[in-house]
Symmetry: C2
Subunit: 334 residues, 2 copies
């Protein structure tokens, strides 16, 4: 009657099949930190100023060069804590699984999630699974919520940004967006590009001691351009970016030209944009370039002294306004 290689509605009913799936798959990959006999889990040995963040993951395809929805669900949420100036400690995980999903594939993705969390030193302490009817769930959606503690004496925020501050990016933009798009194979293209998805903690930690560090953000949905607009909306200041300074890999440029995309709006999942005082900008750059993940870091622009748009000075000396993202220029990739 049932094919045991695939998820059935009964895997979500609270009964035997759900208990066995959780024990054989989630608990096995997440380890002893996950006690499924509790309605709520303690968060032991945590002190200081707590911070929380949450993110949902609906990437399609579920696996792509350089990552998968499982590793991404860890990186995405830990990176949000990292750029907010926190050290991640605990994670919760929700899995919404579509009826008919292959259990071997689920096992592989959840194993990757568990491994990624372990590498980052965070414990998965609580979770939940739901099975949704065939045709209602896009295969697998994951939601992760992360708890961390603010690094003492580090107070970052958009409100600290001042005119003259520099914008830095930790590496080439758009690799994740293009890698996921190519993995869909719907363009008939394939390339050697891999996603930049990674834990950014080494990058954010490198700048903690800099007094001129004002603000950090990871340019995910909406890309670098969206981060500049978030800065502009919160501070009121315009910005000037140098196109020639913004690192974009040649294959990303090539695919963008071919398909009419703009790399400034493409998602990254392992990059950091930092706003640093003029005085500390070169120090920040040197700190990042000393790291393997930051080898291609660059100072890409300056916060203006007055209100205005985000202006990109092109390699040919022209100027182009980077508008806020309107209708979606891209397939949904995160």
């Amino acid at each position: 009657m049932h094919d045991d290689r695939y998820i059935q509605l009964a895997h979500g009913n609270g009964g035997r099949r759900m208990r066995e799936l959780i024990a054989s798959l989630f608990v096995r990959h997440f380890g002893d930190s996950l006690n499924t006999q509790r309605d709520a889990a303690p968060l032991p040995d945590i002190s200081g100023d707590l911070m929380i963040t949450t993110d949902s993951f609906t990437v399609n395809p579920l696996e792509f060069p350089g990552g998968n929805i499982g590793s991404l669900a860890v990186h995405g949420t830990l990176n949000d804590l990292a750029v907010a100036g926190a050290e991640p400690r605990y994670l919760t995980v929700n899995a919404l699984i579509e009826e008919g999903f292959e259990i071997a594939r689920l096992d592989r993705l959840i194993a990757s999630l568990g491994d990624t969390a372990r590498e980052a030193g965070v414990a998965i302490v609580a979770g939940d699974t739901k099975v949704v009817a065939r045709g209602e769930g896009g295969g697998l959606y994951l939601v992760t919520t992360g708890i961390g503690t603010r690094v003492p004496r580090l107070n970052l925020g958009l409100e600290h940004i001042e005119p003259g501050d520099r914008l830095l990016v930790s590496g080439p933009i758009g690799d994740h967006g293009i890698a996921v798009m190519l993995a869909r194979e719907q363009f008939g293209l394939s390339g050697s590009l891999t996603s930049d998805a990674a834990c950014v903690l080494p990058l954010t930690r490198a700048l903690h001691a800099l007094p001129g560090l004002r603000f950090m953000r990871d340019p995910t949905r909406g890309g670098l351009a969206t981060v500049t607009h978030e800065i502009r909306e919160a501070t009121g200041y315009g910005m000037s970016l140098e196109e020639s300074a913004v690192p974009v890999r040649a294959p990303v440029k090539a695919v963008c030209e071919m398909l009419g995309y703009d790399p400034y709006y493409l998602a990254c999942e392992g990059r950091v944009v930092a706003v640093v005082s003029e005085q500390d900008a070169e120090k920040a750059l040197a700190l990042w370039r000393a790291l393997p993940q930051g080898a291609d870091a660059a100072i890409i622009g300056t916060i203006d002294h007055k209100t205005g748009p985000v202006v990109l000075t092109t390699s040919l000396g022209g100027q182009r306004v980077l508008d806020e993202l309107e209708d979606d220029p891209l397939p949904r990739i995160c």
Copy 2:
């Protein structure tokens, strides 16, 4: 080109439409505790032993007599903290919205979520929205994660359960399961039943001072029978329940008989099962019955002195073993 009354993919792209949707809908209903300019939110003024829980909500239909997916997403998660002996403080919310979803309906459901959180005294501090392509999302899924603090000197857990302890239930079982099923109208039935979905904090708080309180759980997915099996699996003890003592409303019984369902496996969303020492059981019952939500509370069974099944003594004096839930006897309702 676009009909502004419905969710579009661009509402999830990180750009203008997403920013406006979040400001006009989520921030408006969730209040000032939600600062959308941050990657991670602080959890201020919290001390003591922290506890966390998370739950996903995929109920169909999204609105039913007595509640909707928004109010349920608050009650479900706060109730898990409450039965674990914690006082809820903070909540995060993820919304996975299907392209084409009516914005007026989203507004109504998110308003209900915000109102329910406010009534329970918890602040929504972080959130995330994703839009999934038409045909991939079941309309709306919600995920909530709750943070609370353990009530001092309260130490509940399956490991404290002893032979001779009594099982109590705070009210009639199965109302939620039947109300949601009838709301689907797929049986051609309709009734006056409303869901029991509610915040159980008054019920859990009422028992905090009882030294004989061992363990509490809310019988959601899999119902009362599943809670008894969780107790049995963790403790090794069997259990005896008295069918005549278990409160089940007449219309729930009638629908179950008509459709062949068993009320013991039906979900409740506002009930508590408590295990209390023999000595304190009558006190616990009196404390619950003094509350409006606990008027129909009952002592329904006893923890056996040896390993064995969960045995239900029927009204006719016969005995029936309550098996662990196997394949799903019910449409998915939570």
